[in-house]
């Protein structure tokens, strides 16, 4: 960090790069996503995950959720830059709220060869309470939701099974403050 101030700054407060989930309410208009994505790429910030959907049809509002990595100083700067964009109503770092909840949804398609694999897959799916979307002879599709961390663990566990083929799609985290 830049200057030393006579007021003590907690050590590392500006140095630690950490994961943040930002929730941005915007006017749903052409180009808004490009403005936000362009802001991130132009200023060298990271986007780890991105989710955009209309959430209020009457007032024409969308909620954009962005997972990003950066020092606290960088995250504050991202928020300030986002709030300068004309169609942006608000940008909130969920970590700064006293209470907030996060979820992500993931669809996993698993191709397997034998019964042993099938049993192991079934076992993990049961532990993680994933929902079966479709099951054929050699293919199963599950839907799992929860925190990103939970989904990561499920996928890690699946990867311990040898010889199966996994294809997946994730929504990226979404979150809400209370």
């Amino acid at each position: 960090m830049s200057s030393t101030s006579v007021y003590p700054t907690p050590i590392n407060a500006f140095k630690q790069s950490k994961r943040s989930v930002l929730s941005v309410i915007v006017d749903n208009e052409p180009g808004i996503l490009a403005r936000i994505v362009g802001l991130f790429s132009g200023r060298g910030y990271n986007i780890e995950a991105l989710n955009v959907t209309v959430v209020d049809i009457k007032n024409n509002l969308s909620r954009i959720t962005i997972e990003t990595l950066g020092e606290e100083k960088v995250i504050s700067q991202i928020i300030a830059q986002l709030e300068k964009l004309v169609p942006v109503h608000s940008a909130t770092n969920l970590a700064n709220l006293s209470e907030s909840y996060e979820a992500e949804i993931c669809l996993v398609k698993i191709e397997f060869d034998n019964n042993e694999q099938d049993q192991k897959i079934l076992n993990f799916a049961d532990i993680y309470r994933s929902r079966t979307v479709q099951k054929r002879q050699n293919i199963v599709v599950y839907e799992i939701s929860g925190t990103s961390e939970r989904i990561n663990k499920f996928l890690d566990d699946l990867n311990t099974i040898g010889g199966i083929k996994v294809e997946l799609v994730r929504s990226g985290p979404i979150g809400l403050g209370i």
């Binding site: 030393t4 132009g42 504050s76 300068k84 004309v86």
Partner: protein, 590 residues
């Protein structure tokens, strides 16, 4: 069915411009804006200035805005017309200048087909405007234009672009006047109107207890309006606190005043930079801790408590962490500080900061702007000093290009009022000054407008001299001609072993003859004895003048904080040697 309450998009645009009290527009016609040009043909409230290249239009609009405090407006066609203004839009964004750019677009049904003179205008200009629009529905046009003007001029000002497809210019709708539009607050971002009383109280307490305070004032003070400058002068006079300004802050406080330490930063005054380095209280009024100002960040003003007043929240803690900040309008905030000090009758009167001023006056004794003017070759510093002495009694506006001449102008030309100094700071756009002078002269027809230029920058937008001649704008181009890209040459000398790679400008035109060929007037000074006559002649002629001033080719701009060095590591002359470790680090910086 024609309805008499309905107007074409082109007419709606003109009505909206009239409603916004726009009287001047800079532009260049083309296929996709012909309906608008047709509407301009049939009216007389709006004066259209035909530039010679669209870059000229955008810089002229900037010069107009800066010198008048109003929004500058320009009109360009699709494709190359609008891509030519990208540099100027970026310039206006960096320097917070309110302009509205209207661009034509190919008809809606051709968008996306790679049509003739089509480009993705909103895509290209998204990162270089404060906001932009593609208007696909003529019924939205009035509202869009009014919102664009509001956004351009509110909060931290900036450029806004409106892209209008040709079919929308022909299509008809009702016109909605400005007074009937209700703006949505979250889109305008005007900043808070309520001054933070705690901030004010905290600041005054710190002023009371500080020994070495300083005001650090930037372009935000200018953008808050002329009243901000009045409040600032009042506050400085009352507190006896020294004040330094950034390049864009020049003029917010009278440069000749005893409290002024002049400009700070890379080519700022020794006393200003040293005072910033040693102060115990820094009061930042609308400046953004730019890298040209701070020098090496880890050695920037290490012992000070920092206060920051800035309407733009993203300027807070971006480069330098501050201790107290407020995102309120500068005029209102300074007013509140002044009245707080008055009402509280604080013992500020007794504080004269004797030791602090003693120290500053010792630094002043270095005479960092001293130069030796010989009897023959004109020193560029001397040329600016004489220009200042011979024009200071007049109502003068100065624009500049970018480079050594710009820094010498900032150092040796003193400004006593805001909005008189129009320069490209953030982006550093060569070719800015002459079209900016065209704009400033349009806004101030009876004033003396001088573009202090270098010959290399001047050549970048030289075509605009024709605009000045056509509209009888008696702008003066004062060229410090050293046949080099001087600042490039200086850096090559200091950082690259005097290997002057491609910085010598061979085959220069004869600027006097060039002026004459454009039907302007050329004057020339080859040596010191001719300088005053050339300046006086230039000023006395009521036509565009190019003054070709031959200056010392090898002169460098000092003082200088080399890139990567700190405020207290300034070089005062070519005899000062830079710390070699800093030099290696500085080489990779800009």
């Amino acid at each position: 069915m024609d309805n008499e309450n309905e107007f074409t998009g082109a007419d709606i645009l003109l009505k909206a411009l009239k409603d916004q009290e726009v009287d001047t527009i800079f532009g260049y016609p083309g296929g996709a804006v012909l309906p608008i040009y047709d509407a301009i043909f049939g009216q007389n409230f709006l004066k259209h200035v035909l530039v010679r290249q669209e870059a000229g239009a955008v810089h002229a609009a900037e010069g107009y805005a800066r010198s008048s405090g109003k929004v500058g407006v320009l009109l360009v066609t699709s494709g190359p017309g609008v891509t030519n203004v990208v540099t100027g839009l970026t310039d206006a964004l960096m320097d917070s200048i309110p302009i509205v750019c209207i661009s034509g677009q190919v008809p809606s049904h051709l968008i996306g087909t790679d049509a003739f003179q089509e480009c993705d205008t909103t895509g290209i200009t998204r990162p270089c405007t404060k906001h932009n629009y593609l208007v696909k529905d003529v019924s939205k046009l009035s509202e869009t234009i009014h919102e664009a003007f509001k956004i351009a001029s509110s909060g931290r000002p900036g450029p806004v672009l409106i892209d209008i497809p040709k079919d929308v210019q022909f299509a008809k709708s009702k016109y909605i006047p400005k007074k009937d539009i209700s703006f949505r607050e979250h889109r305008i971002k005007a900043g808070s109107k309520n001054v933070d009383k705690n901030f004010v109280q905290e600041l005054v307490n710190h002023i009371k207890n500080s020994e070495r305070p300083i005001f650090y004032v930037g372009g935000g003070c200018l953008n808050s309006g002329p009243q901000a400058s009045q409040e600032l002068i009042k506050l400085v006079n009352k507190t006896n606190i020294p004040i330094t300004t950034t390049l864009h802050g020049l003029g917010c406080f009278p440069g000749e005043d005893k409290s002024s330490l002049g400009m700070l930063g890379m080519h700022g005054n020794y006393e200003a930079n040293l005072a910033m380095n040693k102060c115990d209280l820094m009061i930042n009024v609308g400046a953004r801790f730019d890298d040209r100002v701070t020098g090496r960040l880890d050695a920037f003003s290490p012992d000070s408590v920092k206060f920051h007043i800035d309407i733009d929240q993203s300027s807070i803690n971006k480069n330098v962490k501050v201790d107290f900040h407020t995102n309120t309008d500068i005029t209102q905030t300074l007013k509140e500080i002044n009245s707080f000090i008055e009402s509280d009758n604080i013992e500020l009167e007794k504080k004269d900061y004797t030791n602090w001023w003693g120290q500053i006056n010792d630094w002043r004794k270095k005479e960092c702007l001293h130069y030796e003017q010989g009897e023959e070759i004109i020193k560029p510093q001397h040329a600016i000093s004489r220009l200042y002495d011979l024009t200071t009694q007049k109502d003068t506006f100065i624009t500049t290009e970018v480079g050594q001449h710009q820094m010498w102008a900032a150092q040796y030309y003193k400004f006593s009022k805001p909005n008189r100094w129009i320069t490209s700071g953030g982006l550093g756009t060569m070719g800015f000054g002459m079209p900016a002078a065209v704009g400033a002269q349009m806004a101030n027809p009876d004033s003396l407008v001088i573009d202090i230029a270098g010959e290399a920058s001047f050549l970048m937008n030289i075509q605009e001299i024709a605009t000045a001649v056509q509209y009888k704008l008696p702008i003066k181009i004062f060229i410090l001609n050293n046949e080099y890209m001087g600042m490039v040459r200086q850096w090559q000398e200091l950082l690259h072993g005097s290997r002057y790679s491609e910085s010598y400008v061979d085959a220069l035109p004869d600027f006097k003859k060039l002026a004459e060929s454009f039907n302007a007037v050329g004057v020339r000074a080859k040596n010191v004895s001719e300088l005053d006559d050339a300046i006086n002649e230039m000023v006395s002629i009521d036509r565009p003048v190019i003054a070709d001033i031959w200056v010392d080719k090898k002169e460098n701009c000092f003082p200088m904080i080399p890139s990567g060095a700190a405020h207290h590591e300034m070089l005062l002359s070519k005899y000062d040697k830079e710390n070699p470790e800093n030099q290696e680090k500085g080489k990779v910086l800009v």
